[in-house]
Symmetry: C2
């Protein structure tokens, strides 16, 4: 496959050379002290990066982010509880679908297009619920919610605040204490810039206390992960090679100044890009954009997916088409991972060239 293409897709993202290189080594045996230490180190750094409350734990699943969303519902939402799902796009709908499949009593709230829930008045009718499911950043449309306000609403009304932060981790603020997050879902192939295959759920002590006692799952049973996690192990064979890459990447982030440096980098890349395309026939889809990804509307044509394919062919740069209803009008550009200012300038130049507009 064309692994020399420059990718601006929101997972996989452009990775870091020293982390990529580690993928090219023999997978070691892992049921030993040395690997346990790797796992315990990863947990410690991740908890620090998201400012998790004392006593929090990280569940490492070998699976996609969707699996972690399903696992969170199975383990944290009891069948007798009422749950609110915030649905503003494909990933919000996925949370609602998961609740339906597992026969959870789920209310659905569709926010207005540019409502980021900075005002949570509209959530008041659901204040008697026990849990709230939200995609902090609804990646299909690049719409970011005000998690601090949603968290405050949850805390005031004692709802478990369950957040899919998959495309916010390391690129946009995620702070479990400031945003009152009880369970936070992240994955390997976004800000972490690793190959896909790992999804993590970070549980606060409150979430651990409220675990469903006998969830209808073996592979996703959090209590087994917590028990094995005490000695730095997982109940089933994990994606060892990706965990070793994660370990190195987390140490890299730590040595480079931690979460603030990581977020500041992506923010500067996103700003550079958004400023650089203002003369082009492109407009922003969302009014509440995260740093991680930009959703763009093509204003001079009606075939965004054809544009993405044609642009890749001409410039060897991969952008991301949207699916479903928006596939004709919207495409996305990721700023996550190892995307540099130089890469971004290259993209801006290529877009100007494509549209025949001087920079």
């Amino acid at each position: 496959m064309k692994q020399e293409n420059l990718i601006f897709t929101p997972g996989p993202v452009k990775e870091f050379p020293e982390i990529i290189a580690l993928g090219g080594q023999q997978t070691p045996y892992f049921r030993n002290q040395e690997f346990s230490q790797v796992m315990l180190d990863c947990q410690e750094i991740i908890l620090d990066l998201v400012n998790a409350p004392s006593g929090s734990k990280v569940i490492v699943l070998t699976a996609s982010g969707t699996a972690a969303m399903e696992a969170a519902v199975l383990n944290l939402v009891a069948p007798e509880h009422k749950t609110l799902s915030i649905v503003s796009g494909g990933f919000g709908q996925r949370f609602a679908d998961i609740c339906k499949i597992h026969q959870r009593d789920c209310s659905i709230f569709h926010p207005q297009k540019d409502d980021d829930l900075s005002d949570t008045q509209s959530l008041e009718p659901f204040s008697d619920h026990q849990a709230l499911l939200i995609n902090g950043h609804e990646t299909t449309i690049c719409h970011q919610f005000n998690l601090a306000q949603v968290g405050q609403f949850c805390q005031k009304n004692d709802l478990l605040h369950i957040v899919d932060g998959i495309s916010q981790f390391l690129t946009d603020p995620l702070d479990m204490q400031e945003q009152s997050i009880d369970a936070l879902i992240i994955s390997s192939q976004k800000g972490l810039a690793l190959p896909p295959g790992l999804a993590m759920v970070i549980l606060s002590p409150k979430a651990i206390e409220r675990l469903v006692p006998e969830p209808a799952t073996l592979y996703f049973r959090f209590s087994d992960y917590l028990n094995n996690g005490q000695r730095g192990q997982t109940p089933y064979t994990p994606a060892v090679s990706i965990i070793l890459q994660m370990h190195k990447r987390l140490l890299q982030i730590k040595s480079q100044g931690g979460i603030k440096t990581a977020i500041a980098h992506t923010q500067s890349v996103a700003k550079l890009f958004r400023k650089g395309i203002k003369n082009l026939p492109l407009s922003f889809y969302s009014a509440c954009m995260p740093n991680s990804v930009t959703a763009l509307i093509l204003t001079n044509t009606n075939n965004a997916s054809d544009f993405v394919a044609d642009f890749e062919k001409k410039h060897h740069i991969v952008l991301c088409p949207n699916g479903g209803e928006l596939s004709k009008t919207v495409f996305r550009v990721s700023h996550m991972g190892n995307i540099t200012h130089e890469d971004t300038r290259k993209l801006i130049h290529a877009l100007h060239d494509y549209f025949g507009i001087n920079i």
Copy 2:
């Protein structure tokens, strides 16, 4: 981690240099024709390697083998059906546990220690059941069943024959037609010698026909994988880097003579090892050994796990301790993946050296 150690563990196993190298490349974007073709190629080669009946399909899950076992139960065993689980060790018990968690009506049959079910008379009381779950090779004790006979029993009585062939694929005979297998579970880190992270379920047309219509799972819903699989895609982001390695490895197997060559290699390695240790204070645990792994009893001491740790320290060779009840007496040596005759002779020498016995 010590990636230069020679590992004889049954997953991860010793990998092939050219496949390892491919892990050291940027993960490409995958929602495109090129990756679809990789997936379709993988399916075609896997179906050929296990002699799957025409119309069979491969479900590729990003998860461990246990997840694939659970997925098979969720999708293939209806709650109203009676299922038989053959339990002779830890992995058989896992199938039974999965049935219990998902409230399946499951009978358990414990074969006698050296019974490989070449005679299926003992299964007759279960002939009214709708499905049979078996670990073709119960890896915890290296006991291999006669799948052809079990398959014949299933076919005669119209039970769905669901086989965990995880530690048999490419090392021991697995033939869906000859052994009347309806669903076959395999994974990436055994005979395929890839990093862990992928598990596959190969479904015969009969299994596809009998899929549970609304299984209580999103991530493991086979119908979604079959729909997406038609165009060579998966419903959720898969472990792309490991799939690319699998593709190269499958092409390698094909070019080297296919399944017969692969099995013959592991068989010759296992024979060399078993013959080479006859003077040592070791005896075979099982009378029905597969080619893939040898379970050994230490006859001169009562601490197998200490022996494994001490042997690794002295010789930088990693063997596999058993868990549970057998941890004091039994350990295992894998012959899967890229273990060569030279590696095996090195192990035989090291064992003689360790025990102070001339070769």
